[in-house]
Amino acid sequence: MARRIPLRVSNNKAYVWDIDDIAALRADHHICGVLIGTLPHLSQQNVFLGVPLLLMPEEVVLLVDKHLAVLVDDPTAHRHPSVDALRHWNAERAAAAKHQIGAAETKEASEKAAKLSMSEEAIRKRREREERRAAAARAKALAEGEDGNAPEASGSGSRAAPSAPFEQRPSTPSAQATPAYTITLPGSSSDLQWYSSEGCTYESVADAQAAGIWTYPADLHERAKCRVFRDLWEKGNFMGGGVKFGGDFLVYPGDPMRYHSHFVATVIDSPVSTIKPMEIVAHGRLGTATKKAHLFCGWDDEKQEVSYFSIEWAGFG
């Protein structure tokens, strides 16, 4: 793999901002991350989210250790732009606006003639339609047996509402001294002239830690999590966060987009740590209820290897 994917690090979190990088991570490296941004055109829901892609710290450590990605200190990479760079940016913006306005004007001119002949009839039809609707509303209200006042109020309301656009209609062309155009707000910084990752790119976790932009993994538990993650990933699994299922990771046989996970994995720091029977019962019960097996992943720091035990409800009796 020639190109290493730049992971933008700020506040100890690693983001991916470029769509191509997100695609490459998913398809080539089996790394999914979590989308956390608002989708601009579907901004009032939480099912589908957009860029940035936030990576789990284990994913970051894995990618950097495997030389698939580099860490970029994002706040530093945003330099102070020169006046020239700003002027260039502004000129591009103005040109885009001008282009749009020009296109809109030619389009409008060509449509205007057609519209003009249509408008008389359209207005008449619209009025008829509204009257019919108001009558229907009145009839409906009467049928529902409401007070005498209510239909009157609703009738006047429905008449008032459509009249507003009528009044606005003629005003829009007059306000076209500064016609509306579409602004595209910039998302990723990669295209900016004053964005440069030179001098603040780190090729190993240790370098980034030394530079103070990254801390993970800091202790044995975090190290164990990284190694377990890496081991399962090397076995060809896709990995996800397991916080909703009471574990550290979810282990998927294929892309989580299309396949259910088979295991909920819990990382155990050392082969001699105790597991209480209650935990086994709880994990067995929870895993079975969600059609998964629970996976205990024991990390042996001396031997540098992982051992796995899966737990399922046996279902006798």
Binding site: S10, K13, L42, N46, V47, D74, T184, L185, F245, H262
Partner: protein, 454 residues
């Protein structure tokens, strides 16, 4: 359900009920990821919220069957397509702001749209223009508000810059360095006590339409709800308890016994009425119980707890006035699920100590839709029987304790206490965020002492 069977009506079951059932089923399976192929394309005029999709159990050997690979590619393509949609907005509805990193606020220079009805607060700032100090009020946004508007594509944010821009040619209508969403993420998180976790919870709730404000005012001008008066009784009691603790523990025990337990009349006369089990149990109680009693836990020298209420959240339906916010509908604590253990007893007690008591939950109505409608249209039942009491006799008035109290209809009628116990009197929402995934938990302060089980 039985009620509907008993009273058959011609009106069919409302459709919403059926829908609700479906929703419950699908949200139970959180593993069910979003199906990006169902996402409406950008060109669709009216966006709708698509549902989660179906998934396979596992790919077949050798990287999946042809169909599986095809479907996966289609899903991936749909996702990338949706992700690469640009943030576009009309020049007539875009807002502008200038971000000042030194104070971690964004000054809104052009506010458009409905977002500003519940975001931003006005602050008087001194601006020194040509050596004359001007004192002017301006609209400022907190970092989370700024970031949300920027990433939503509703606002263009400039970063205040030292460069002199006004007289440079070709730089008109520029107020600083334009910030990309990426730049805003890198720069704004970490300022004004905002962590990424807190921002994610903010954005999550905002996307659902909630109004979210900070609980602790980040600056004195920030409007907060007029002080929720803490339950007075509790204050007094806890102070009293503390004083007693200081004096001596045996004395406290003695006092408690004396004040609570009347040795000459172990069961008071009024409690002879078997129906009033509540006061009977209360008079039998030796040791003080319940949440009014201060904790006998040695609080370690106060390390700042992660369990602090960070956001006040208002339902979309709550009338919200920005300058005088009402008491919040929910109080939300944000914690990092990776580093924060479960709250300790003292942490929970501190959380609940700051929260107001909630009214008891309404008993769940097991009423069919048809019945509900019938009730609404029918005239209310004659309420005269409730207001007029039979005149009480003189004996009754002189010795009220000897008679069962009739005037106070206690909520004992609510026969099933489990809903109340489950809901509790106080409630706090804890959002645990783990690397981008947010889970909301509701902690209620159950009041078992107030609900005798017998």
């Amino acid at each position: 359900m039985d009620d509907t069977l008993e009273r058959p009506t011609s009106i069919s079951k409302p459709v919403d009920l059926v829908d609700d059932g479906e929703d419950e089923q699908s949200s139970g399976e959180e593993d069910q990821g979003p199906d990006w192929t169902k996402i409406p394309s950008v060109s669709t005029a009216r966006p709708f919220i698509p549902k989660r999709g179906e998934k396979d159990f596992e790919p077949t050997a050798a990287g999946g069957s042809g169909l599986q690979r095809h479907v996966l590619d289609r899903s991936r393509h749909a996702m990338l397509e949706a992700l690469s949609a640009p943030r576009t907005i009309s020049s007539k509805s875009v807002s502008y702001a200038v971000w000042y990193p030194d104070i971690a606020r964004a000054h809104v220079t052009m506010s458009r749209g409905i977002h500003f009805t519940n975001m931003g607060h006005s602050v008087a700032r001194t601006t020194s223009v040509e050596d004359s100090k001007k004192f002017a009020k301006r609209l400022e946004l907190l970092p989370e508000e700024t970031l949300y508007l920027v990433e939503r594509g509703a606002m263009l944010c400039w970063k205040a810059s030292d460069l002199v821009l006004t007289d440079a040619p070709g730089l008109d209508d520029i107020d600083g360095v334009p910030m990309t969403v990426q730049h805003a993420f890198a720069e704004m998180i970490g300022t004004a006590d905002l962590t990424l976790e807190q921002y994610q919870v903010f954005a999550y709730l905002k996307r659902l339409g909630y109004v979210v404000t900070r609980t602790k005012p980040p600056n004195p001008e920030y409007p907060v709800p007029s002080l929720i008066e803490p339950p007075k009784k509790r204050r007094v009691l806890s102070c009293f308890g503390r004083v007693l603790q200081l004096v001596q523990w045996p004395l406290q025990l003695l006092l408690g016994l004396v004040s609570r337990f009347d040795w000459w009349r172990p069961i008071r006369l009024s409690c002879l009425q078997i129906s009033d089990t509540r006061s009977l149990f209360r008079s039998l109680r030796f040791l003080p119980g319940g949440h009014d009693v201060p904790l006998h836990v040695k609080v370690s020298p106060r390390v700042t707890s992660p369990y602090e209420i960070f956001y006040n959240v208002y339902k979309p339906s709550t009338p919200f006035k920005k300058t005088a916010p009402p008491p919040p509908d929910y109080s939300v604590v944000v914690v990092n699920a990776r580093t924060t253990p479960m709250p300790t007893l003292t942490e929970l007690a501190a959380l609940f100590g700051a929260l107001p008591e909630l009214p008891p939950p309404l008993p769940r109505k097991r009423q069919s839709f048809a019945q509900h409608k019938a009730d609404a249209t029918a005239p209310p039942p004659a309420s005269t029987s409730q207001t007029t009491h039979p005149p009480s006799s003189l004996v009754q008035r002189l010795f009220p304790w000897a008679f069962p109290s009739r005037a106070s209809p206690e909520p004992v009628r609510n026969a099933n206490p489990f809903l109340s116990l489950k809901t509790g009197k106080k409630m706090v929402v804890i959002a645990a965020v783990d690397a981008g995934m947010t889970s909301f938990f509701r902690f209620g302060e159950g009041v078992f002492t107030e609900w005798p089980m017998a």
